[in-house]
């Protein structure tokens, strides 16, 4: 039994969000917005009803819920589907299925670390905003300054890393994580928590670092999806010793299940 619903969401606005081709899609979808929790995602039709190509819905993390009626998605334009979406005029209505899956499960107290690589930062905005008032550090890495999305206004401390040093630290976001973890007082480590989303090598490294430090970590995974409802088994992969579906058992998993 899925907690998702399907609506025809109105595309309110398409806004560029980084110097590279990243756009923010703002959608009017009150029922989905109200039910959404950080780390969940939606399946969005790549075009209006009746369009047969591209055929499949696209999975996108819920980037922000700026008000109770609105969803924001942060979309990297990387292929035919996202190109089509970025070019749609406001007013179009698109099928949207959501909110989908198991989101992040941060502890009620203790230090909170968020690690985002590239577009993986998308769901961490929603998470950071839901944790406003608590001690949150966002460690955010991207290839270059051009690929960074502005974090202005986020209610947390933000540290940046870029591969070429064009913004923040030169290097990987996981290097920021290694430092942040070693700076954690040993007593606090058992209470601490990491939420990470990004490329798999980054997730693997983050999982290893957190295991060493004894910090609980949750990872948001990706997989090519057809249904987004748990029905097709398209997104299933071995996690914790059995096939689990990224769409319905995830997309957020405990790091020790993913990298045992």
């Amino acid at each position: 039994m899925s907690g998702s619903i399907q609506v025809h969401a109105e595309l309110v606005q398409v806004e560029p969000r980084a110097r590279q081709r990243i756009v923010c899609l703002r959608l009017f979808a009150p029922q989905v917005a109200r039910a959404a929790r950080p780390g969940q995602f939606v399946m969005l039709a790549p075009g209006p009803d009746g369009q047969l190509d591209p055929f499949l819905n696209r999975p996108f993390s819920i980037h922000r819920v700026p008000d109770a009626d609105t969803l924001e998605l942060l979309v990297a334009v990387v292929g035919r589907g996202t190109e089509g979406l970025a070019a749609l005029p406001p007013g179009v209505r698109l099928r949207l299925l959501g909110p989908i899956g198991r989101g992040f499960d941060p502890p009620a107290r203790g230090p909170l670390l968020l690690l985002g690589g590239g577009l993986g930062v998308a769901p961490l905005f929603f998470l950071a905003e839901s944790l406003a008032g608590r001690p949150v550090r966002l460690l955010y890495g991207a290839a270059t300054a051009e690929a960074l999305v502005s974090t202005a206004g986020l209610p947390c401390r933000v540290e940046l890393a870029t591969d070429d040093g064009s913004a923040g630290r030169r290097g990987l976001a996981t290097e920021l994580l290694a430092e942040a973890l070693s700076a954690l007082p040993v007593a606090e480590r058992a209470l601490a928590y990491l939420a990470a989303c990004g490329p798999e090598p980054m997730l693997a490294r983050a999982a290893a670092l957190c295991r060493e430090a004894g910090v609980r970590a949750e990872l948001s995974l990706e997989a090519h999806m057809a249904c987004g409802t748990g029905a097709c088994m398209g997104c299933a992969r071995p996690i914790g010793g059995r096939p689990q579906r990224v769409c319905s058992e995830g997309p957020v998993f405990d790091a020790r299940e993913v990298y045992p």
């Binding site: 399907q6 039709a45 047969l52 055929f55 997989a223 088994m233 299933a236 319905s248």
Partner: protein, 309 residues
């Protein structure tokens, strides 16, 4: 006072299997139906066809298992399923509670395995019919071999038929030279109906990395792209065999279902379309009913095979 327009009679009979309407969901595209509870009016479906069930659990193929193609997709799920026992204990109770027919899709590596599955499901409350998958292109042993040889296909069909009192549908593969020959042999075993088509064998390659877009390299093609092949298969087979034919392949809207029925299908299955719109099967049924009304037909059976050639 003019009489209220009659709603067309949507009931269909596929051999001994009676359905309240001709629109089913296709195996493997609707899970075990519980995934769609709350999202879709399950009771509005003519039948739910389950994901394929084997004797033992199967873990399926490596990622990626889905690759989009022009107006379609390739999949190489690899028939992941929890196995017969877990199906009966964990999946069947929910299905049994639905006010719609439940068709269990079965697959094995030998005719004996098929027979054992058929026998085991015979007594189970909640199972209304079996659909024999001899056509899945993903599993090396079994699968493609049975589906592409008339003798082997008939052997599996006969084994299942003998092992169960349930209505039996046999789902055929389009990846063959002479589908009519296979269909005729299978029909002669006394099964209740044929379902066609399963996916076509296909492949896609990432030109930048040089790697196949599916972990399993080759997968099954489905979606609107294959509709013309499916309609042709339904047309040819339904004219050649006496048993009812169920059409499947590329149906996204009611008009596609009507096309399959005009070609000769007594009922249809909606597959990949559900991925983009979970409500697609229900919308197909509703649209079909309206269409029949507009044509002035009193029963969906009147549309079957009406193509004028």
């Amino acid at each position: 006072m003019s009489p209220a327009p009659l709603r067309p009679d949507m009931r269909v009979q596929i051999g001994r299997l009676a359905l309240k309407n001709p629109v089913m969901v296709a195996s493997g595209t609707f899970g075990w139906a519980n995934e769609y509870a709350g999202l879709v009016r399950l009771d509005a479906l003519g039948a739910v066809v389950t994901k394929g069930v084997s004797l033992e659990p199967r873990a399926g193929n490596p990622q990626p298992r889905i690759a989009e193609t022009a107006a379609g997709l390739l999949n190489s799920i690899g028939l992941q399923n929890p196995g017969l026992e877990a199906f009966i204990s964990q999946k069947l109770p929910f299905l049994h509670g639905l006010d719609t027919a439940v068709v269990v899709n079965i697959l094995g590596d030998t005719p004996e395995e098929y027979a054992r599955l058929a026998a085991a499901l015979d007594g189970q409350a909640g199972v209304d019919a079996l659909e024999v998958n001899i056509s899945c292109p993903n599993v090396r042993a079994g699968g493609i071999a049975f589906g592409s040889d008339p003798g082997a296909a008939a052997e599996v069909a006969a084994a299942v038929r003998a092992a169960t009192r349930l209505p039996v549908l046999v789902k055929l593969s389009p990846n063959v030279t002479d589908l009519v020959a296979i269909a005729s042999r299978v029909a002669a075993t006394g099964v209740d109906g044929l379902v066609l088509i399963n996916t076509l064998r296909g492949m896609a390659i990432d030109v930048w990395t040089g790697r196949p877009r599916l972990g399993n390299a080759i997968g099954g093609l489905s979606g609107p792209a294959i509709k013309p092949i499916a309609v042709r298969a339904v047309f040819e087979v339904s004219r050649a065999v006496a048993v009812p034919v169920v059409g499947c392949g590329g149906i996204t809207g009611w008009a596609d279902a009507a096309e399959h029925m005009r070609a000769g299908a007594v009922a249809v299955q909606v597959g990949s379309a559900t991925f983009r719109n979970p409500a697609a099967p229900v919308e197909v049924e509703e649209g079909l009913e309206r269409f029949l009304g507009e044509l002035g037909l009193r029963s969906c059976r009147e549309l079957v095979g009406t193509v004028e050639v």
